[in-house]
Symmetry: C2
Subunit: 457 residues, 2 copies
């Protein structure tokens, strides 16, 4: 995130560190009144952030002191990783009294992350209708639209007029907390369009709903992957969309706040995967994180050893001119950086679907040319550096040639490797980087040391 | 983006490559009817993606052939970088006839990216009210809430009842296209709350609006940075929020689709910056991109040369044992990777505001420990490799010790450097990586070669 120098309006929504301290002080002193006083003005999302930032011991103390007033909305906002830890601190009585206040889709989100024993506690706490809704959702596979949707939907027959719909809404008790559209369904309860509440509000009673439906209508299959759902919401600026069973019947509705959470997670995943970090959060334990980061590092070790083996081919050459050992990491490092630039652009473009068969060839040529031009530019610079540092024109020439070769190959593999991985159905975000840097290390050392052994001696 | 093996529901929204080809064929054959036929079912956002993926020449041909039917919504969906290029292909008559169909906030978004001459063409095409709205928005600094908001707002006095509000809405002509709340204002036109259309719809006519306002109400200062606005929408699950002048008066309203676009851009920016790539898109020209990537590479060259200078300190040592030249990149590379893992987690946590004063110390200790444990694990592995490869226990020991030191320092600098940069008001996403890899290269070479010169001879 870019930090501007504008000052005043910057980071306006940061949790105030004085407030955090006051809350921790109140907790340490076991002062219930002061804790409630400090915490009550905060949004559940901010309290969740606070809980994520303090230690596990502080969390336990705070939640114990908070006691019966604990806001269950906080659970829905918490990082998946600590939902179960926090839920374990609540008494069965608290759970049975308060779970019912949550929306079913939030409960699904919480229950997914709970220990089996606690799942039952939460499910048992629900009333008949809500319990059925939650269990229905949980019956769909993880990461599908079915897990994301609300089953509490506002729909009316597609041959109704505005007046009928408005009267029906007004007479219904228990409309959903957040809804933005009235869905029109045919007699088989298949959604055929939707009318925004704004349009409904602004139209005369005798207007037919079918005459004021939104132009762009999309129904989401209940088994669609959540990342696809998020893409659709983002691409088509949806606010809410009906979810349908395989036979087209209405199953539920997804609203933008749920889609936004998924979109956020996807972007986060891409950033972390590019660096070889899994689904990691700051609340994870040290040993867990150490073990999680290990596989990426061991793969990197293997590739580093491979690069060393290339160097080992040229030990005699290095023995004769130790300057080569001094300069060789430069060529490899520059290739690694150029390749990383290129692969990051490619991985991102694949994720946002901006890189397709239609522009693949042009993008490859583009990267190759960028690699070539920057290769030439840096060949001139590094050639001069090598010559001035070690006083050998030939050494400068070898450096320059190796630089061109490696930067060209770096940019080319930076685009070809992610696309190839995607075609092989391997996540390019997680695997591209290791392949590309292996290529740039191996090519870098080989081109430089090989060139030296040919030209210098 | 993770590619699952689920098949069927995957990439459901990808632009069909057959469709793209059919459109390009129609364009090449200058067959207007077939082009329109193919393109008319597509959402403006998909057409914009298509235009981004084809070449500049194809774009020009397509838009010329599309002619008077060109959908101006496409302009609002296009990548900023090619808005001006595409707008230049439209005739002044097309512009004056069609610009008025767009929402003022979309026009602001387009006009921002236009050449000055074309800006006037667009502004002149607007009617009095819309023109004033667009110019008002453009008067606010770039990247502020004022540029993002719509000025067409639905607000009513805060002492009204539901019935009054509903009647007023129904009698008003020209309500905004998308609105989700009725904003309540006091007599000074300061927003004091908002009622969702769903609540309004479901309530009896005699209920006072002030009794059904949303619990969580946030007004956004007109000069607030857009990334702060996006954060608030995401954190607090807002759908729309009023924008206010410095004196608290209502200035406009921001809806979630606008905030989502900003959020998306921010995530994209972070990913690209971590790899040393600027605000780059696949539609950029080769030379422009080459030049844009150059600064990062030249900084990397400087740090690579710095690392080489460390190696140069030990040329005599290397001369005596050329195995050192073979093995030294391994230590540097492992440090670089461990540091990148750590800094990526830190940069992301800073961006999402999950890393604050409240957990800074604990996170630093956590990273140090992760570095230490993985350092020890890899010390054992690489020590064994070094011993087995070159048959020297001492060489294995030197490798192992250097590995522990470098991975420990790598993880520590991976957290301290981003936080330090953030405090110094430098974007950690763009600068952390170069500092961290400099540290890991220098420490890696120094620890390994220095250790070798002490212990081996």
């Amino acid at each position: 995130m870019n930090i501007d120098h504008s000052g005043a309006t910057d980071n306006s929504y940061n949790l105030d560190s004085e407030l955090i301290e006051a809350i921790l002080d109140a907790t340490a002193e076991r002062n219930h009144g002061r804790l409630i006083n400090r915490i009550k003005g905060l949004h559940a999302a901010d309290i969740a952030d606070l809980l994520e930032q303090i230690s596990a011991v502080q969390r336990a103390d705070l939640i114990e002191l908070w006691g019966r007033d604990f806001d269950f909305d906080v659970l829905a906002e918490l990082d998946d990783k600590i939902v179960d830890e926090v839920a374990a601190l609540l008494t069965p009585r608290q759970i049975s009294e308060s779970v019912g206040e949550l929306e079913p889709d939030d409960i699904v989100d919480i229950v997914e992350d709970l220990d089996e024993k606690r799942q039952d506690l939460f499910l048992d706490a629900l009333q008949g209708h809500d319990q059925a809704a939650v269990q229905l959702s949980l019956a769909y596979p993880e990461n599908t639209a079915g897990r994301l949707m609300q089953t509490h939907v506002v729909f009316v027959p597609d041959n109704w007029q505005v007046g009928e719909a408005v009267d029906a809404l007004r007479s219904r008790s228990g409309l959903p907390e957040d809804f933005y559209h009235v869905i029109l369904t045919n007699p088989k309860i298949v959604p055929v369009g939707q009318v925004s509440l704004g349009r409904l509000m602004a139209s005369r009673r005798e207007v037919f709903l079918s005459d004021i439906v939104e132009g762009d209508f999309r129904a989401i299959p209940v088994l669609q992957q959540q990342k696809e759902v998020a893409y659709a919401f983002n691409q088509y600026h949806l606010i809410s969309a009906p979810v349908v069973h395989e036979d087209g019947r209405l199953a539920g509705v997804i609203t933008i706040d749920d889609a936004m959470t998924v979109l956020d997670d996807e972007a986060e995943e891409d950033i972390l995967r590019l660096a070889g970090v899994g689904n990691e959060s700051l609340t994870d334990r040290v040993i867990g994180t150490t073990v999680q980061r290990f596989p990426w590092l061991i793969i990197n070790l293997a590739t580093a050893i491979l690069a060393s083996m290339v160097i080992a081919l040229f030990t005699e050459t290095i023995q004769e001119a130790v300057a080569l050992a001094v300069l060789m990491p430069i060529v490899a490092s520059m290739g690694g950086n150029a390749g990383t630039q290129s692969l990051t652009v490619a991985v991102r473009a694949l994720a946002t679907r901006d890189l397709t068969a239609a522009n693949f060839f042009r993008v490859v040529c583009r990267e190759a040319l960028i690699g070539l031009w920057n290769g030439v530019a840096f060949a001139v610079i590094i050639g001069a550096v090598g010559y001035l540092w070690f006083g050998s024109q030939l050494l400068g020439l070898v450096l320059a040639l190796a630089m061109i070769v490696n930067m060209f190959i770096a940019n080319l593999s930076g685009i070809l490797i992610p696309v190839g991985l995607q075609r092989a159905r391997i996540d390019p975000a997680i695997a591209s980087s290791v392949f590309v840097t292996t290529v740039t290390d191996v090519v870098g050392f080989f081109a430089f040391l090989g060139g030296a052994s040919l030209l210098l001696f």
